[in-house]
């Protein structure tokens, strides 16, 4: 492929993702979902290239990076390139993961042929090894309830606030803190 072509393709992705993210952060949930889906696909390709020795870990890291991007979305400055912001977060999470696993000695495990054969990373399987839902269950009650009601049961912030006897602002804070606490749990695994 031509270099200029590639450049254009990157620009197109940047423009499209940036528009979706900005719409999402303005309150358009459908746009935000599309942003996360497209981002997940890009992250998967990015991480698969860099974790070729550990194909089964790719999806864990895709999820960890997605959660980080979501948790830090307020730090995206609309005047700066989105790609650079996302790549910086993905690289950071990758390096953090590599350090963690180097400490645990997990990276010394020989990957035998059996592991290679039954690796799930090929094709489009998107199951991670680690189950985020189980970790969500471990959050403090208020954060857990705020996340499950607004995000799984589909309640509005208002309904959740009434059910939990909290203000709407506290519900939003509880959701945000809960997802940050979830990211912290991933780090400590």
């Amino acid at each position: 492929m031509d270099k200029a072509d590639n450049r254009n393709r990157v620009d197109d992705v940047e423009t499209r993702l940036r528009a979706l993210l900005l719409q999402g952060m303005a309150g358009d949930d459908a746009a935000y979902r599309q942003f996360l889906q497209a981002t997940a696909a890009h992250l998967r390709a990015f991480l698969r290239r860099r974790l070729s020795g550990w194909p089964d870990e790719v999806e864990d890291l895709v999820q960890e990076s997605l959660l980080a991007i979501h948790n830090q979305r307020a730090t995206y400055d609309a005047d700066a390139p989105l790609t650079a912001w996302m790549v910086a977060i993905a690289k950071y999470k990758l390096i953090d993961w590599l350090r963690r696993h180097a400490r645990q000695g997990a990276l010394n495990d020989p990957l035998d042929d059996e592991n290679e054969l039954f690796s799930t990373a090929d094709g489009d399987a998107r199951d991670a090894r680690r189950d985020l839902r189980k970790l969500l269950e471990l959050l403090p009650e208020q954060q857990r309830a705020a996340i499950f009601h607004t995000k799984v049961d589909g309640w509005s912030v208002k309904e959740t606030a009434a059910a939990l006897k909290m203000s709407e602002a506290s519900v939003k804070v509880a959701v945000h803190r809960g997802l940050k606490a979830l990211a912290a749990k991933l780090r400590k695994e």
Binding site: G24, G27, Q37, Q63, A84, M86, Y92, A128, R133, L179
Partner: protein
């Protein structure tokens, strides 16, 4: 949970992000600087001839030198607190105040009587100066690190070092109100050494304390 479920979880509800706690961050930094100032005023004391000192160009040379480093440090800190922002061009600016103070220092040493050169470099407080600057930087350093933890630095060693340098340079500006030294060779070495102590500490602890 597979990734599509995670996406559903994240996208449901309200995607409008909570605002960055700018007020909290500014308050943290203000408290850090005030504590540093109070420590200087209470433990070391403001120079009693401050008004006369304000009339001396040498004071302003010293003060502008540390202020320039502090301003560049704060810009750099802000950049390194957010993912994917370029920082190399701002970091390169740090060379300018250093080049200027070292040029002035070299000139003043060349022009001085050989017997006075030692005095220009050692002054009378070289033993304590770097440690006092490092000590005064501590409250600012803690405030900058805590502020960074509200944001999302991705190059933790560099971010930690920058937090240390910024705290060191800001503390040096506070220390100027106490310090009796004004010779460029003194400032160009002992002040810089004082700022480098928190910088090195920051590089050391950054990867651990700034993780998110």
């Amino acid at each position: 949970m597979n990734t599509d479920d995670l996406i559903t979880l994240l996208a449901n509800g309200d995607a409008r992000p909570p605002a960055i706690p700018t007020r909290r961050i500014l308050a943290l930094l203000a408290v850090g600087i005030l504590v540093s100032f109070a420590l200087m005023a209470l433990l070391l004391g403001v120079r009693n001839n401050l008004l006369q000192v304000f009339a001396l160009p040498a004071f302003w040379m010293k003060f502008l030198f540390v202020l320039a480093l502090a301003c560049i440090g704060w810009r750099l800190t802000a950049r390194l607190s957010l993912p994917g922002r370029r920082s190399a061009a701002i970091a390169a600016l740090l060379a300018a105040p250093l080049a200027i103070i070292w040029s002035i220092a070299a000139l003043s040493l060349l022009q001085a009587d050989p017997l006075e050169r030692g005095e220009l470099f050692w002054g009378s407080t070289w033993r304590v100066c770097p440690f006092l600057i490092a000590g005064l930087s501590l409250p600012i350093f803690i405030a900058v690190l805590r502020a960074m933890r509200e944001l999302a630095p991705t190059r933790l060693r560099l971010a930690g070092a920058t937090a240390g340098l910024t705290a060191g340079a800001t503390a040096a500006a506070v220390y100027c109100l106490h310090c009796p030294e004004m010779a460029a060779p003194f400032v160009g070495f002992w002040y810089v050494l004082g700022m480098l102590i928190p910088t090195a500490v920051g590089a050391l602890i950054g990867p651990r304390v700034l993780r998110w």
